[in-house]
Homo-oligomer: 684 residues x 2
Amino acid sequence: MTDRLQRLLASLLISVPVAAAADEGMWTFDNFPAAAVKQKYGVDVTPPWLDRVRLATVRLGGCSASFVSPDGLILTNHHCVSACLAQLSSAEQDRLKDGFLAGAREQELRCPTQTADVLMGIEDITAKVNAATQGMDDQAAGEARKRALTKIEQACEQAAGSQDPRRCESVKLYKGGQYFLYQYKRFQDVRIAFAPEAAIAAFGGDPDNFQFPRWCLDMALLRAYENGKPVKSPDFLRINWEGPAEREPVFVSGHPGSTDRLMTVAQLEALRASIPQWLLRSAELRGRYIQFAQGGAENARIVADPLTNLENGIKVRRKQLDALLDGTMMAKKAQSEADLRARAGLAGERDPWEQTAVAARRSLEISLPYSYLESAAGFNGTLFSHARTLVRAAAERPKPNDERLREFRDSALPLVEQHLLAAVPIYPEREEITMSLGFMRLRELLGPDHPLVVRLLRSTSPEALAAELVAKTRLGDTAYRRQLWEGGAAAIAATDDPMIRLAAAVDAEARAIRKRYEDEVEAPIDAAAERIAAARFAAYGTSLYPDATFTLRLNYGTVRGWEEGGQAVPPFTRLAGAFQRHTGADPFRLPDSWLEARERLDLQTKFNLSTDNDIVGGNSGSALINAQGEVVGLIFDGNIHSISGSYWFEPARNRSVAVHPAIMRAALTHVYDATALAGELGLR
Amino acid sequence: MTDRLQRLLASLLISVPVAAAADEGMWTFDNFPAAAVKQKYGVDVTPPWLDRVRLATVRLGGCSASFVSPDGLILTNHHCVSACLAQLSSAEQDRLKDGFLAGAREQELRCPTQTADVLMGIEDITAKVNAATQGMDDQAAGEARKRALTKIEQACEQAAGSQDPRRCESVKLYKGGQYFLYQYKRFQDVRIAFAPEAAIAAFGGDPDNFQFPRWCLDMALLRAYENGKPVKSPDFLRINWEGPAEREPVFVSGHPGSTDRLMTVAQLEALRASIPQWLLRSAELRGRYIQFAQGGAENARIVADPLTNLENGIKVRRKQLDALLDGTMMAKKAQSEADLRARAGLAGERDPWEQTAVAARRSLEISLPYSYLESAAGFNGTLFSHARTLVRAAAERPKPNDERLREFRDSALPLVEQHLLAAVPIYPEREEITMSLGFMRLRELLGPDHPLVVRLLRSTSPEALAAELVAKTRLGDTAYRRQLWEGGAAAIAATDDPMIRLAAAVDAEARAIRKRYEDEVEAPIDAAAERIAAARFAAYGTSLYPDATFTLRLNYGTVRGWEEGGQAVPPFTRLAGAFQRHTGADPFRLPDSWLEARERLDLQTKFNLSTDNDIVGGNSGSALINAQGEVVGLIFDGNIHSISGSYWFEPARNRSVAVHPAIMRAALTHVYDATALAGELGLR
């Protein structure tokens, strides 16, 4: 024992910087470390530079993007518009597979569920929020905080008025230490102007995902519209087609989705124990999609987009789990936590780390019913999702705004409605797959004797129940969804649509487990996080960046490769490599357009590049920006080591991966003859 | 930090018995704690009792069983003969689904790949093995040990002669502390006499697997033959049809497959990090099988047996992973290890725990290529398995016996040949599924640039390659396999069969990774395990049981339920419960035979029971035996808490699950009218 403890003690003495090391950090625009950048790279990041970049940066659903012309043209990744392309496809015309180019602006096609946000203002509301929860116990504070945030958002939107409407969103930073109000201008009419074939956008497919070297033209062009006209975007970023030099300082402005670097060790351990369930369910679904796709080209098309997303998610979660099972990194985490706890001196009954540990263990106890009932893994599918939206909206919308479930507050309703009523294809075959899998695992994991399982499957099988629900529901019909949406609670109560009846039948149990989660996990963790954040600021000063929350961040770094197994990985790839990698079989088959254009192309054209910027999912589509504020690349991925960036930053190996401007120029001018768009982007 | 360490120290002081607690333990017959049983339960376990039970206990491939009549009749689980039933089925006659009853002995059907072993003798060969490795470094010792074991086995079989042939197998106990030679009498002609429908054998299917209360008639009757005649089995165990009383002392004699209770913490951590890969691959295959089965009844039949096995494996591994992610139990494990290390005082350069930790980390580094190349996850399927057997046998059989890969030593060849040449159906559709999945994940996980992946998939896709190999190979033809087996190296070199060529093409890389594993993982761990085992004996005495190794063990316990969430779970279920649980939809649909027999049956008949015996997989089919040496149950499962038994025994909740004799009697006499078998078993 002594020996083991001695080694443990020794391991704790290895120095681990707690604050940002190397170029780590996803900084908010109001707390960017400009002085550090100036000192390290000699680059002036001035307030006007920051304002311009902020106003040029666009948030899409789950992705980032930027204005690249004065007429509302938006550059993002192909994989950020793949859902739109799939929605605009049919058995006759597969725009996801074959790509799309609008011959003229009038031919640009509206993406049915796409929106685009630009961040207009940031306000610190920590004091207001804390005032609303003063003196309350954790559960009451949790409730009061939600109400306060809704009220603050509502007041903000009302103040903006209808002339220049704003979407106001509260943001919790530092896992609960600070609250901010972010004001966005939102565009709800976003159209696709250009996307290449999926085969070149995601060349190498899942096997090459998160790998580098790489050859992906993962680009697309959208355009924001207002009142049927392209919007003016004077703060756009110009593309520098030559791209950056190796070691050149570069910036990434975008919306990293979610990191857990400030989680306590107990939270990370609970997270680690919960990931396998997600992975198992997703791997099984992957198998079902792949087997279904064997049934023919139309089957393959139907599952193409969800399969790609699923495979991406599986790789991310798999490597996240590997990271959390890495004893060395977890020991470092434990050490920095021990260091902070020692400095904080908060031991005792209300020790926030202990409080968090208790709540984290509770989260594990309820994670299965929470996933299967409230997160709807047990009823997985678009049709059920619509049914739940309709059932809950009918119950929530009549309530005062600040007493509703947060996703039905006034400011959220336009997007809810857009998603619910969009006329996009729903495939019964796919719905049957996801739903029968949901019922099967619901029964396996909650057990055949769980009262809800007994109610659902008393005299039928998961497969038969899913088939019947999908066949009999009318929710595939947009007009019927609209009728129920507008009819409200009376219409929901009156309909015998079986999917609505299912959603209504499971709602009480789903809400109950959500309430338990909010009271027993979220509320105590929020309360503890506030005290931990205060301790962290006291110990290390305020030059700390918050965890990613899919809000606007800026980071800095340089163009560079890394060392893998003793071998240098250079930071640039060139077009010749793509032709060498072409095997003729998906996903290593270049599209015909590129095979035919080969003679016209310079094979030395730079294709993809790697940088040491600290990014995560959500940064997809972000512009890579040089000191002059020009676009010198398009972030679309990280290398495999970047996935552990969810929990810590490894400066030696964590790299972002971007599309080089030179290959975008070659594509627009020599492969796709996108003359008008090329001209708009400053190419002759 | 101090605070955290203090809590760690405190946790280490909780008392955890290192030696067997409660009725924990899977004891070898030569070291059974008869005195402890006498003291606790007043039962005399005498040497004649042990001999008789040993000679009545049968080892099947992966399962246990026992003789229950003097004419070679063997009682085991339905799930232990499901492979046989599937092999004896076709599109026209589904014996797995519909069951089987031989009208007379002449109609009993030979199971093509089934064997049955009875343990005849045990010899301690530790000294001989140690003498062969004296003074060698770990790698040389590893090689020498394998050669020595093969020689000892060979000498044993030669000494037995051909009159009364023996199968001699060496066994490593205590993870390497002791070596034994086990002599078996083997029966290679085993026939199926009776099996009920799968729907009653595994009533509740995967959802109810590892659950209790339970209603499964998981029984089957085999018969061992020699020279075309039923064998005589004078040491059979009589069935006591009344079964045991609650709290009655009971014994389980059988072959627990594998436990890792003596693994070091470092080994358990490496194991924990390796399980997700297996789970992910298996979950994906599960999805593919389930989706394939949607294609119709014949599709469903083709994958029924492998799907059941896969689902069982997934549940086991999933709960094993949960166990290894349980911080409390791992902390206890760490504490008992620290205690032993402190007593052993072996710190220093050759500290066996450190040596094991280094090797365990190395095992993680090579686990992916090892799984995909040597364990053939990358080429998964029966056809490839046959191809590898043929390719390797051709290379190995000409070598001296003790220089071959161990699985091709003389004593192993009869079983290798039986499996290779059995005329059992191979389904191309299933082969394509497993093989294409193998290629896909081989490419994903070793990476598209791995030289072997490049070689295989330079101009094709995993799906196309699998389809081509399966379509073009002739290995589905038993006669062709025999021709290649008998033709040896020349025939293998000459054939252009693509599956043989594939197996030959990947063999060098597979062997190389196996050699690395043996040298860098197995050899140092074996060497360290010897010193750890010695330290354990020195510290705690010799009354320790070894980890399970699929060799004969006896354990004791009592008939009892447990408490689950504050509720008592009684130890017996009754037939009425099965009818209540019947929903009409698989897997909760009782077969027609039972629905029709309902009026003739006593609904109070006991069905399944639970006991606190310490069992794991491999014990399936074991007789539950009372003090008088009578069969009072048929082990077929454990409860969900039993799965953590791989790593530790939780006396409060770990339970085994058995079929009650009363339901077997009711089935034979009132449902299936198995008059002759019933008479042979002593029923009128």
